[in-house]
Symmetry: C2
Subunit: 108 residues, 2 copies
DNA sequence: TTTATAGTTCGACATATTTCGAATTATAAA
DNA sequence: TTTATAATTCGAAATATGTCGAACTATAAA
């Protein structure tokens, strides 16, 4: 099977979501739980609440909320309310789909 | 080594380039030289000229040119004039960098 | 019940993007 | 040299995006 026709509309939405510096930073923060050099092998997807994700980004809460909504809409980030907070995480399965796109066609 | 700090500005440019349906289609055309089911194992990157890439996309030549310029600027597509035509192709090394981003952090 | 904290929605405004047609450049063919 | 083909540049217009503050909702704590 080749990657000739992955649903390009969905793919395009994913790339659009990652095309903004703030959203890319947010997504990256969810992907990379650890600072360089530290040990970290999460069995389960890492979770951050909205506020934590926005730290150091210097954007208004409403803007932060908007960007996370976009990442969620694009299917890249999951969100779930936990008490006063809303937790965010990335499902590893979603990543796999994206990497598939960049792999060259495989035929034998 | 982790992917903690890939140059996010460059990465962002790449995703922005792929965030437009027409540009994604153009890039995909360069990635997937073959129709599904056919045999195809290109030793060298596949090349299309600008006009060929635009076929069936129903956009003006100026728009096509603009989009390819964007893909080139983002470092995703190489371009070189060959006579009357301008040939376009994707360097496999560029793809590798993008896939790295989506891979989870590896620490041992 | 009142108050505080976390996050979202809405409307407005500035900026960026997409697209086209007209004019232009580069190359090859007649 | 003149003509045709391939592609690019430029300017303009329509649309989309990023951002904020104000007002609002959801939940927990006092």
């Amino acid at each position: 099977m080749s990657n000739y026709k992955i649903n390009s509309a969905l793919l395009c939405e994913a790339f659009k979501a990652l095309s903004n510096p703030h959203r890319l930073a947010l997504f990256n923060r969810l992907l990379n739980c650890c600072a360089p050099g530290t040990k970290c092998s999460p069995a389960v997807a890492v979770r951050y609440c909205v506020g934590e994700l926005g730290e150091g980004l210097d954007i208004a809460p409403s803007t932060l909320s908007h960007h996370l909504k976009e990442l969620n809409r694009a299917g890249l980030v999951e969100m779930e309310r936990k008490g006063k907070n809303v937790e965010c995480w990335v499902e590893p399965a979603k990543l796999a789909k994206l990497t598939t796109f960049f792999k060259p066609v495989q035929n034998d």
